[in-house]
């Protein structure tokens, strides 16, 4: 600094005592400490606790259990259902949300007037409190007064009202529909932004060269959007796999375990069965998956940064 400051507050005088090289760390310290204590430390702690037998009501009486909790993952009778549900939930939920979101984003960009108003409306499902969105769907799917039952009856798909949320073979699907409703707008907005970022002249040039609209889409739109789409895809996976509220509000993971996914299973294991050790082992499983997704997220992000700069 070439200009020596004359005015100094007491606060600054304290800072002046810190060696120059360490002063930057002083500024990042609060946020790092906060994130470290409340987000990163629990992750480490879960890994540690997953080797112990622990009861939620008596957390101090933990006994070392080795890999027993992980063995339980294999042995547990419900875990098979839970994993199948989780895979279904993530694959169907993300897949449909992406297709629908892309369509919605394209319609917003190309076909609908008042883009900013329309996209604000489209975003409402995403920003609404999760419990609110989930309750609306729970009410719409309700077995006694649900509008969706009425719709299905009038379309002739079913003869009478069915209790979808209470039927083990159906209970997962209403929550998937609700989740698609919540996530598709997010993907739509990402799509809309990437459409807006593409230079119109490219299309013009392609048309001069005799490209059909499909070719324009295939060779201009998709390649230029690939990073945004990749990021959107990963976000869909991440938001889906860690979702808890949609299922918990609509079915509580029931009946039985028929609509329980991994996060709901963690909750039930820890807070209704009080088996903290096993819940921690399940959490570690969820970290592992999230870690893979985050790794790719950061990788895509880095590559995009590298290309735009």
């Amino acid at each position: 600094m070439s200009y020596e400051s004359t005015a100094q507050s007491p606060f600054e005088r304290v800072i002046q005592r810190v060696p120059e090289g360490l002063r930057v760390y002083l500024a990042v310290l609060p946020v790092t400490a906060l994130v470290g204590i409340f987000i990163l430390y629990p992750i480490v702690r879960a890994i540690y606790s997953s080797f112990f037998e622990k009861d939620l009501l008596h957390p101090d009486e933990a006994t070392f259990a080795g890999l027993q909790n992980y063995a339980q993952i294999v042995q547990n009778g419900q875990i098979h259902t839970v994993l199948v549900n989780t895979v279904l939930w993530v694959v169907v939920g993300s897949g449909v949300a992406i297709l629908l979101g892309f369509l919605l984003g394209w319609l917003l960009y190309e076909k609908l007037p008042y883009v900013s108003v329309a996209s604000a409306i489209v975003l409402i499902p995403w920003v609404l409190p999760r419990v609110v969105g989930a309750s609306v769907w729970a009410f719409m799917f309700s077995g006694s007064q649900g509008i969706i039952n009425e719709l299905l009856v009038s379309l002739g798909i079913v003869d009478q009202y069915i209790v979808m949320l209470g039927d083990p073979s159906l209970s997962l699907w209403p929550a998937i529909v609700g989740m698609i409703w919540r996530l598709a707008p997010l993907f739509a907005l990402l799509t809309l932004t990437s459409f807006q970022g593409i230079d119109e002249h490219l299309y013009e040039a392609a048309r001069m060269d005799g490209a059909t609209p499909w070719e324009e889409f295939r060779y201009i739109t998709l390649p230029l959007m690939r990073y945004n789409l990749a990021i959107g895809f990963l976000l869909m996976l991440i938001y889906n796999i860690r979702n808890f509220s949609m299922i918990w509000v609509m079915t509580k993971g029931g009946p039985g375990y028929s609509s329980t996914t991994l996060p709901v299973m963690i909750y039930r294991t820890a807070f209704t069965d009080f088996n903290v050790g096993f819940a921690d082992a399940l959490s570690v499983m969820l970290f592992a998956v999230l870690l893979v997704f985050s790794y790719y997220y950061i990788k895509v992000y880095d590559r995009m940064q590298g290309e735009t700069q």
Binding site: P30, I124, V127, R130, W137, F139, M140, N228
Partner: protein
């Protein structure tokens, strides 16, 4: 000949196709697009419409089969029940009777106003912490180079992915150790930690584009680094700061998992409070809908403000523009 683009360039195309280059084809396309618009709009909007309409129905009409698409008589019964039950559980019946001469009686047991007060407390606290800590960090991360910077940035980005269900059990254990269980302070800190990395990314985007000539000018005028930050940068960053605050506020306002597991029901914020009500016996859906609308108002106001920052915020600053 395509009809939706008057662009004459289309005439040059050699590989004409039926779908794009005949009148019938373009009609078919318009019809398909029209159907897609209607279906999408219906899927996105109908639940919202249903929420609003339900809140204005009478209790009797809610129980009707088949459900009515449009209420016979619009009523504020749902909202009245919500407010009355809040007054009753807050213990203000006498006060209201003395002031307005209205007898408050309600069979519903949900203290929405109390929940909103708790949520406001937690969300504002979390927003302030996230903005203060996040901005300070992001300024340095954007302006200076130091060892461990990239690691720190990746750590922040990764930490956005984990909160929620993956750490609810260890978080519960941590709260017990720190004696923060069932305190709003604990939630404020936790939500602050969840959103501070978000703010770092959002504000770093702002500081990266901030012209350094302004900062140099401030130095010339004998501003210390702190004064530059406080009196030059912060006022210019006002909009981004407000957007960051709203992001953090909304996250805290909507968060269910931690509020449910780290609070007991006397201190519940809106999401777990509403959840207990929805999952109670004999749910009165018009009251649920009315309560839902009341708690969604801050969200909608916030959305109107931060819409333009949304994509940037969602992807952790990954996409600019």
């Amino acid at each position: 000949m395509s009809t939706d683009t008057p662009d004459s360039v289309d005439d040059f195309r050699t590989n004409q196709s039926w779908l794009y280059d005949t009148t019938a084809g373009s009609y078919l396309r318009s019809i398909l697009v029209g159907i897609a618009v209607l279906l999408c709009a219906g899927f996105v909007l109908f639940p919202l419409y249903w929420l609003v309409v339900t809140s204005f129905k009478t209790t009797a009409e809610i129980q009707q089969i088949p459900p009515t698409i449009y209420p016979h008589d619009w009523t504020l019964e749902g909202f009245r029940l919500v407010v009355e039950s809040s007054i009753r559980s807050g213990g203000y019946e006498d006060l209201v009777q003395r002031l307005f001469g209205v007898q408050v009686s309600s069979a519903i047991d949900i203290d929405v106003i109390g929940l909103i007060a708790n949520s406001l407390k937690v969300s504002i606290g979390a927003g302030l912490i996230a903005v203060a800590f996040g901005t300070l960090g992001s300024y340095v991360l954007s302006r200076r180079d130091f060892a461990g910077k990239n690691l720190l940035m990746s750590l922040f980005l990764a930490s956005l992915m984990f909160p929620g269900t993956a750490i609810m059990v260890p978080e519960w254990e941590l709260f017990n150790t720190l004696n923060l269980f069932n305190t709003h302070l604990g939630l404020v800190l936790l939500y602050g930690a969840m959103t501070a990395p978000f703010v770092v990314w959002l504000m770093k985007g702002f500081f990266d584009d901030f012209p350094s000539s302004i900062i140099d000018a401030a130095h010339m005028d004998q501003c210390s680094p702190y004064e530059t930050f406080r009196y030059v940068i912060v006022p210019m960053a006002r909009n981004s700061l407000i957007a960051s605050f709203i992001f953090a506020f909304l996250l805290a306002w909507n968060e269910l998992v931690f509020a449910l597991t780290l609070l007991a029901n006397t201190k519940y914020t809106v999401p777990p409070g509403l959840l207990t009500f929805v999952q109670g016996f004999n749910v009165q859906w018009n009251v649920v809908a009315a309560a839902s609308i009341l708690v969604s108002i801050p969200v909608l106001i916030g959305l109107a403000y931060i819409q333009q920052y949304f994509v940037q915020g969602l992807t952790g600053g990954a996409i600019k523009g």
